[in-house]
């Protein structure tokens, strides 16, 4: 049930998505990854991918133009 953070602030598409996909491979089932982003199109494509794969996803707007995407690995 470990928690990891991935700093993608200042990164443009598709870098946050590819980094998230790579990082998720290293996680164990039940672990959570928090992706920090400030690029609004990553706010769309990262959760979209994670939901398609079947992970649990939650998005939180932490500041103006800044988000944290919580992804819990389910399988």
């Amino acid at each position: 049930m470990a928690e990891y953070r991935l700093d993608c602030l200042g990164e443009a598409c598709p870098v946050p998505l590819i980094k998230t996909q790579k990082k998720m491979e290293q996680l164990k089932v039940g672990d959570t990854l928090i992706v920090e982003i400030d690029h609004s199109c990553a706010m769309k494509n990262v959760p979209e991918w994670a939901r398609k794969v079947g992970h649990n996803v939650e998005i939180e707007e932490v500041d103006d133009g800044e988000w944290e995407i919580y992804i819990e690995k389910t399988k």
Partner: protein, 178 residues
Amino acid sequence: MNFTNSPLYKKIFKDAWSYWTGAILLAILNTAMLAISGKGWGVTTTFAYWGAWISKLFGADVSGWDFFQIEANAKALGQSVFTNTGSAQNIGIIAGALLATLLASQFKIKKLKSYKQVIAAALGGLLMGYGARIAFGCNIGAFFSGIASMSLHGWIYAVFIFLGAWIGSKLLVRYFMT
């Protein structure tokens, strides 16, 4: 009541519009632009004009260049940011984007992640600018407006932009994923 909590505000200003909504609006606006100005939407030809005007300020004479032998381009040499429709369109894009991000309260000055990013952005910008000139337009003027006006060069542009994007994504994974 705080209007930022209303579902209508969220739907219009906060959430991203669907691709369908965007596509239909772009089609309507481009048709209107063609009807009013006689030209489809374009972006980068105006950059060449901006470059020419700046060169003129420093005393360079570009009126002899091949590009400015074309009538529309020669005419633009005598114009300024305030009298040129393309300039108004480009400034409109920047002002509109700023307005949209402010209305969504998502404005943020982003920090630079690395100098690699700066070099890649500058190199990419130069390549795109050069490419847009020899292809007679960018992804708006040549691709979007080209295909919309049923010009063959828009479709050829489409094939090569996918090829370029594929090569670009390989380079990106190689140099930016470490």
